[in-house]
Subunit: 261 residues, 2 copies
């Protein structure tokens, strides 16, 4: 499959964001699935903007993304404010990752479980589920940002059969270790593909790292962005999963010989 | 505390190894604790030599290491073949890490849990325990080599209160990701110090990576070796643990918001 990962400037208004995604999808056709950053419909930084993003606003923004998916015949995973249409049931706002198919139809919604101690996260209730879904014959796992820093969350998705784990994120430049080391290690220690879509540039007092990345099941980078807006692309060969697991069968051994999971 | 990490040539005979460790300890005084590589008493590569290392041979080799600890008033952690004196009870040979104090007395023995699918490992029965022990007021966790590649094992040691995790290893140059990314990530995702003592050079058909490393609780390298024999040193400031955990309380959040451990 041909994967795209959008890295966008953190400060952009949504209409501008959408127009640039539209142009990037046209320029990089054909892509099968494109991953966008965390809270793509609002931006991560501005507390007031996220707080004001009610159900009507979410419907409008996500409707525009669905139209884009249909126009380019591409599946999308993006960060959004979910108001209860996710797998987590109703009630409470969630910092979520939604998967929509090439027809713009919602297939899965993952609510971020690990909410870091930052202001904007107080707007959300934490998710409680591992989210793995079949899409065009591939098992996709969904996580949001800080979720991927907990090895338990990635292991749970890999155990549920995930082959490719998709992570919308909003990572500051203060913690480059996450993009440079944690994400490759999650791929390596589970024998899965991991894609991580970040923002870049300054916004609301923080600078975002960029360095969106796609990692192979042996932990190597297949594609990595610098610190400017871009659409990364990578072709994923599923045979790499079996090859990595043949060399070091992490999932199998984690069940039998590691500390109790 | 002042930590030393010995990186030694993989092919050396034990007597030569011991003489060089003796000289290095004299040259770097005062050190509080020194970590040595996996199967330090036999070398990792040679199946026949490890197989021939019976209880009498182990007693002789480990007696010499105890004498060295006494002479230099330094605690040691080293890899050895354990024949049943470890915490795992009797029966079966174990690929073990042993801690001895400044008087040469054995304080703890960790039997490697995760045995990779390599020939020499078929000589061993897997361990089943997490090993964390108090030493001079510091909580030390012991792991061996492949154990550290499973996040479950490091999390279990951190949950048991480990502040510094000591890992004798024998890592080939085919998998540099372990020394370069996995070890720093284990420190970061648990807010602990991690030390990793490797071999370097060629032996029995494999080349060892070197890159022994000491990582701080925020995941940064405090000291990292190249690919030649050396004694790395690092001063560990325990306040760094609290500072890292205040920024991102991984252990606390892993209990409440991550996938079930």
């Amino acid at each position: 499959m041909r994967l795209g990962v959008l890295q966008d400037a953190a400060e952009r208004a949504f209409d501008d964001r959408l127009a640039r995604l539209d142009a990037a999808l046209a320029a990089h056709r054909p892509l099968d699935l494109v991953l966008c950053p965390e809270l793509f419909t609002t931006g991560y930084g501005p507390y007031a903007r996220v707080a004001a993003h009610d159900e009507a606003a979410a419907r409008t923004a996500e409707g525009a993304l669905a139209a884009l998916a249909r126009r380019h015949r591409v599946a999308l995973v993006y960060g959004t404010v979910d108001h209860g249409t996710g797998d987590h049931g109703t009630g409470g706002r969630r910092n979520a990752a939604r998967l929509i198919d090439r027809h713009g139809r919602p297939l899965a919604c993952h609510a971020k479980r690990a909410l870091p101690p930052f202001a904007v996260e107080t707007l959300f209730a934490p998710g409680t589920a591992t989210t793995v879904v079949d899409w065009e014959g591939v098992r996709l796992g969904l996580l949001v940002c800080f979720d991927v820093e907990f090895p338990e969350n990635v292991r749970a998705a890999a155990r549920a059969g995930a082959e490719l784990i998709l992570v919308p994120t909003a990572l500051w430049d203060r913690v480059p270790i996450v993009a440079r080391k944690v994400v490759p290690v999650r791929a390596y220690e589970n024998g899965v593909f991991v894609a991580y879509a970040n923002y870049c540039g300054a916004h609301a007092g923080e600078t975002y790292l960029g360095e969106s990345v796609v990692c192979a099941p042996d932990g190597r980078d297949l594609a990595r962005a610098a610190d400017t807006p871009t659409l990364l692309t990578a072709t994923l060969d599923r045979d790499e999963i079996a090859r990595a697991r043949q060399f070091l069968p992490f999932l199998e051994l984690a069940t039998t010989t590691a500390a109790a999971p």
